[in-house]
Symmetry: C2
Subunit: 512 residues, 2 copies
């Protein structure tokens, strides 16, 4: 029986056979020739994940001053059970990601159905015809021990395989533009040797045709400006040689709004790769500091959020101080310091951890346990305590659950045999936990709960009326605000209703 | 023989006797009565150090809409050998601090000689007549072990004595406005009990007259905007009770440019005290992170300063990333995290360090040793190696040497028996090191040196022509750039002149 890949909407797609593969190759061949005849360069995007699929559409959407697209884009996705569905879905003009950004469905429809210069494929022939391959392979950090990010590492094997595929297929003059966030040193010490080896095996003289490899990282933000966060934002790039840098600059200038967001060229790919993981380490550290002080504030009657506002009055120097919350989630801040720390030692052979960055990850990762500590002050035995959690994603008004701090919270509450229910208006299926039991409404979530945790500051939760919530609940639950979500008046209302109220970093509550 | 106190200009002043003291009291009495008759309130500033003296002049300079000063200011300085000279110097209308800010001499002359509403005294009677006492007593953190800030503490004894003096002398309705950066908890747990005890001993009913105590920290920056950094800047304040808060708000509104820089009131003095040490911990952490990455960059051919510029393109979120340098100096970033960490444990009895903040201090404090490591790669035995250091202060174009990283550098080079010369156009006498042997000219500093360290980025050093410097030197010294002071062209020139060139965080130098 032919295997199938199932899209999130339930639609099933057959994974292609050898016959389909031959037809697909012919198709790519024909399209490519037509497009070259139109004067377009061929771009292949490797990996149609969170970044790759939108990047591919941004590349396709780019036009010259006469409104003609610069490029034809092959979006490449391997024919795996997990992800193959993206190919036929995209080829209908539908985005394979859900987003609150209205530009996302628009740009997919426009490029696939109107401009007809973006098409997804699973066939490696797309690499053979490419002038540029944009690498958007997912690359994770593995943290084998909770709260010990110093033991974290990066398994490069899938990434290496991806590079081998490119080395076997691309034209010698094709630019490999790595957009994936990689451990510093990857382009020079991982990508380059692999491509050189494959080129040499193919009989390509790497002295005459040194591989063209560049690095330029994205600064994608999920949410309402998803597409703009790729196209209308500052970019950093570099290459392993001058030709790669020039080629990357030309390409990025064509596809991005570099007039308003000028490019920054760095001297080498180590610098560009370091820049990305350093900027995220900077943010991770910024948050970790506030988490430590939030705990201090709780104990001494201080509202850390008001202190933060006072500090942020210093425009230009202190106004970007981040705020403490349940914990730190998402794909970048949780892993990039680990990539850097691992690369320093494993790729460059240097000694010693990047302590500040790594300690920050540890503080951030373990932060959800602090909310459990708060609960335990009132419920020392968590067994059978009913806990309702409002918010499962890692960010306000976004359904992204990657490395969500609520995940850590729920896992540990489960370990203590608490009875946990959770709600999130943006999440139907919690992929990381493989759970479909996300409550559909607040009422059923909080009913009978001993503790109600405001975990994520979704807008919907702002409309909750305390009297109603307590009515739904039917008890006088412990209310915990993890994200400065409830203002002092609301907190007072809950107190008047007979609830005990606590808050992360909100030591002033006891005096309200 | 009567003791004397010597001003920095060499002028000697006799420390007053009992007779002078009686005359002084009469004088304060007379002046105060005259000033009250003019409708002015009496403000006494306790401590005429770096902050207190300028704060006193800003208070005196404040006027109502008709151009009439709100206040008469007694600046109080104890009659110690080290500091008494400030009293007669100020009373000539001369600032007791040197500064590049032209407003400093102007404001002292204007208030003392023209408006005649600012006068310095050593007599405690100045406290008895005060409506507000602004506390600017110096308060240090002690770090008993180098690189182990977690062992740091704050000796409050002098501060406590200062508070006892106030408790013995002030009117019950006088506001004590603590401007000193204090360990969180100080106003509530140190100042308040002391004043209450003294009041009670004086027969004042503290139920009817609870002491009025507020906290509002300064954000003074040495340099060309010294006065403006007090007057034209955002302020945070709070008080131990509502009356104190109201009183503090009125006072601060009168003296500061609150129209352009609105005040922020926090709920309690713990919050206000925490705000100050947290904002400086934030900056200290920001720098510590860059120091760790600077070392990483050095090893992998990356210029951390260009990476920083690339990151800082992200306006509003990343553009305040600080830069690595020889180390971190000055009065605030080096001690404030220690005050917080100590207060958490010693004042509030809580467990555990503020790790991120304390590790940052340790990284920052020990950073000058990294420059020694750089030197040692070329001179493994430092004994008798001649080292010229350009820059002794802790900040560009400022003569402030408090906790200067050059101090650590010189101390450790001396321990290794290196032969060290140093130069700084802004420093004549190096108080912390008790040294007068600061070179007067660059020529004599660098002559014959094996190593020239660009330690501080003073403007004067920017005009140095490489050929001239090497000519002065007479050798081919190792050049070390500790503060991104030499651009790539200058670095190349030094290389062409036969020098070995290294730089903190500048791993790209070897490829230049």
């Amino acid at each position: 029986m032919q295997k199938t890949s199932v899209a999130p909407n339930g639609e099933e797609f057959l994974i292609p056979h050898e016959t389909e593969s031959k037809i697909e190759k012919k198709k790519i061949e024909r399209i490519t020739q037509e497009q070259i005849a139109k004067g377009r360069k061929i771009i292949t995007v490797q990996g149609l994940g969170f970044v790759g699929c939108v990047m591919a559409s941004v590349v396709a959407d780019a036009e010259d001053e006469n409104g003609n697209p610069f490029y034809y884009v092959h979006g490449h996705q391997r024919d795996s059970i997990r992800s193959f569905w993206k190919v036929p879905i995209i080829n209908k003009g539908i985005a394979p990601v859900s987003s609150s950004d209205p530009e996302v469905p628009e740009i997919f429809n426009r490029c696939v159905n109107v401009k007809k210069n973006f098409r997804a494929t699973w066939h490696n022939y797309a690499y053979e015809v490419a002038d540029v391959v944009v690498v958007d392979i997912q690359l994770d950090a593995t943290k084998p021990a909770f709260g010990e990010a110093e033991k974290g590492y990066c398994d490069l094997s899938a990434f290496r395989n991806g590079m081998k595929t490119l080395g076997k297929h691309i034209k010698p003059e094709c630019l490999i533009l790595v957009e994936t966030t990689v451990p510093p040193g990857t382009c020079e010490r991982v990508v380059k040797p692999i491509i050189e080896k494959e080129f040499t095996q193919r009989g390509i003289d790497i002295e005459k045709n040194p591989p063209l490899i560049a690095h330029s990282y994205e600064r994608v933000m999920p949410g309402s400006k998803y597409v703009a966060s790729i196209r209308d934002f500052w970019r950093v790039y570099s290459g392993v040689n001058e030709k790669s840098k020039t080629f990357a600059r030309e390409f990025l200038t064509n596809i991005l709004n570099t007039e308003n967001y000028p490019l920054t060229e760095l001297e080498n790919t180590n610098a560009s790769e370091m820049s990305k993981v350093m900027e995220n380490s900077y943010r991770a550290t910024n948050i970790a500091l506030t988490l430590e002080w939030a705990k201090f504030a709780e104990e001494v009657g201080v509202d850390i959020f008001k202190v933060r506002d006072a500090i942020r009055m210093r425009e230009g120097t202190h106004d970007n101080m981040l705020r403490p919350s349940l914990g730190v989630g998402g794909y970048c801040l949780t892993k990039d310091p680990v990539l850097a720390n691992w690369a320093k030692q494993a790729i460059f052979g240097l000694k010693g951890d990047l302590k500040i960055a790594i300690n920050s990850v540890n503080i951030n990762d373990t932060m959800p346990l602090h909310t459990i500590d708060i609960i335990k002050k009132d419920f020392p035995e968590l067994k059978d305590v009913k806990i309702a959690i409002l918010g499962v994603s890692y960010l306000e008004d976004v359904g992204d659950t990657r490395h969500s701090p609520t995940e850590t919270l729920v896992k540990y509450l489960n370990e203590f045999w608490a009875i946990v229910k959770y709600h999130d208006p943006y999440v139907e299926y919690w992929a990381e936990m493989d759970r479909s039991d996300i409550q559909k409404d607040i009422e059923s979530t909080v009913k009978d709960a001993d503790v109600i945790v405001f975990a994520v500051g979704h807008s919907e939760y702002k409309q909750i009326i305390p009297e109603e919530l307590i009515n739904f609940n039917g008890k006088k639950p412990l209310i915990i605000d993890c994200s400065n979500f409830l203002n002092d008046n609301t907190l007072k209302t809950y107190k008047k209703l007979g609830c005990k109220v606590k808050g992360l970093g909100k030591g002033h509550i006891k005096n309200l």
